[in-house]
């Protein structure tokens, strides 16, 4: 299962858990799995059919350019990061 690092300001949704393990082969599936376990998570991360433009996602240390479509491996680490103007990276 992939390990998802929950942003500090979203941990109210996970009961304070900083990391959670969920199944998913893409970031979209990871978000769906998070939503089913922690309702409200999707609204914070997704805008329509795309990753929110205010959010970056890094899989195994690299900030992906394809958002929800990015592949996630069985032992991957997934980080959701704030994407605000003036810099982006991983």
């Amino acid at each position: 299962m992939a390990t998802v690092y929950i942003p500090a300001l979203m941990r109210e949704l996970t009961g304070g858990a900083a990391t959670v393990e969920v199944e998913g082969q893409t970031v979209r599936q990871i978000v769906n799995a998070l939503e089913s376990r922690y309702p409200g998570m999707r609204d914070r991360l997704v805008d329509g059919d795309l990753l929110s433009p205010r959010v970056n996602v890094a899989v195994d240390g690299y900030v992906t350019r394809i958002g929800l479509m990015e592949r996630v491996g069985p032992t991957s680490e997934v980080h959701f990061l704030p994407a605000i103007s003036g810099g982006r990276g991983g």
Partner: protein
Amino acid sequence: MRTADRLSRSNQVLATTHYRVVGTRPIRHDGVDKVVGRAVYGADFKIAGLIHGRVLRSPHAHARIKMIDTSRAAALPGVRAVITGRDFPEADDRWQDLGEGNVNLKHLSDNVMATDKVLYRGHPVAAVAANSPHVAEEALKLIDIEWEILPSVLDVREAMKDSAPLLHDNVTTQEFGKDTGKKSNIAQHFRHELGDIEKGFAEADIIIEREITTATVHQGYIEPHNATALWSADDSITVWGSTQGAFPVRDQLVQVLKHPISKIKVVPTEIGGGFGGKIPLYLQPIAALLSKRSGRPVKVLMSRSDEFQGTGPSPASWIKARLGAKKDGRIVAIDSTLAMEAGAYPGSAVGAAAMCMWAPYDIPNGRIDGYDVVCNKPRSFAYRAPGATQAAFASEMMLDELAERMGMDPIELRLKNSAKEGTRRIDGPVYNRVGAVECLEVAKNHEHYRTPLEPNRDGKKRGRGVAHGFWFNVGLASSCSISVNPDGTITLIEGSTDIGGSRTSIAMQAAEVLGIAAEDVRPSVVDTDSVGFTHVTGGSRTTYATGLAAYEAAHDVVRQMKDRAAKLWEVDSATVSFADGTFTTGSHRIGFKDLAGKLGHTGGPLTGSANVDPGGHGGAFATMICDLEVDPETGKVRILRWTTVQDAGKAIHPSYVEGQLQGGTVQGIGWALNEEYVFNRDGAMTNPSFLDYRMPLTYDLPMIDTVIVEVPNPGHPYGVRGVGEVPIVPPPAAIAAAIHNAIGIRMNRLPMSPRAILEDTGVIPRE
């Protein structure tokens, strides 16, 4: 020391891998045009029927436009068009990627020209196109505006208070996707957290706390913004001008003008510096609308005063931090709060600042809070490693203080805590192969660091300081195509505007693949109709990502030429191999150039192409050593000697890498010692010229010695890491450490100008 000896020892490359073309120093392809003044910059551009536009800017920092009447201006003989914010289509209230971050399109449009409210002095409110620039300037004086002046706020801490005047009715604080519903100038709050900071601080033997402020500074590129636009009768728009990204300009024009992408072409001219400041839109949509109204091509130029007051500087900041360490120097916890001035609209560099602040170190427990705060200053934008310089000023000074309290060498302390492959940053990601340790080791063993400071002279106090810094770099999309000429040379088409010699560094990567010389490549930077999408020249990405596109396009050429060789030899193309510029199979062999001469009768012209959007950019570290002397009577600081050590992964063209290291270092020195926007109580900048906004001159500086360290980035075939941004990160902290070493004072603010030093040493009272 003789000058020649000094220059010869000033730059070193510690290469780990050697190639045929990569790593050499050919003459740049655009060198002659630039040296003789033939290169065409935006202000040089001419076209038949050209008229001239000028922009009217707000005299107030915060005011409502109650009435605007342009009739007198429009009636002036020679005036052909007048526009105001109401002539722009209503922009969408959504966010779009601009390369070094996201921008709200409504805010972008409102920043191009205000509609009902101005948010800073210099905010555009109207524009005129006329037969001459002088008539346009006269016409601006005839535009009548009735203002309702509003209270303004110019400081990040003041703007964060509940009692501060609000800039926007619709900005509420966002917390990672959650709208708190609270109307505030704090547009966003985020937090990174790792480990258990309470436990970490409980384990600490030494705790250091610091609070720092930094001033607003400008990129200071030498060429002002410019744009020429032609809105044709068929509604196609062509825009010429200086930009860090023709495609992002096109995409922003689509949104701001609500115009089809297929009807907009952006032609980049040569660019006289950008450093992040030429990513956003300012003049292009104004020139386009003036052209639509007048039916003529319109050129709009900024003055230097417009530049300072109307474009996006690097944000002023307030940073408070706490650090806990064990007796042996190991850092066990940090806690930091960063607040940065976004200026008129949300989107400061605080996100990047938070990512970089403690990134050079392996710290098990940490928390970083970031606040993006609007205030009545120009909307801030990227400036070379956006946010990281401000953050490193705080964190690196604390490292220096920790080293002093431990009685430990400051580089040894950094080595003890250094990030390396496998280290997890406080914001989450784990490092791949990075060169932090290598940079520190090279600095520690450098002759500069091992040579004692010369004694104080003439009442001046000498000091030495070191600092270390990080920038993450980016990848993003790039495209290239290569056409093979019959003489074996190639034409390389790319979309990355060339700021620092990237034509050549990209051409060299293609030449390396094809086994030809760099001089056999003719690189051209073309318009948005002539190559695939290419993102900005920014984020230290161009040599990495567009270089990767050239590398892949060259391999596409090789694949196709293998087919041609196979056709020539009547063999299966799978049996043809290519190495060192020669195609071979069995007893057959033919060089790249000879085969190029046979393309005409083996199938005709041949073009290779590639589009990439890589994610393997590697972060970069730099370590700097600074010697200086302080005059305690005047507060003046003179830099005596400087060494910049930086990991480039692989320096494709070492001279350009050295240029980036020296340029970034010098900008950091200016930021440290002199540069700042000075505002009066009404929110007007009082020093909007290079006479009063003091940037370093050659007379102010010694030779900036450089050492290029090469720890290959596994995400690039030659190991390239972006190099353009990290060299601006450590200088202010290195200078602060050296000032402390010289006079025993820890400066907590930028700039560390003569006045600031005299105030902090008690020679004059604090203003």
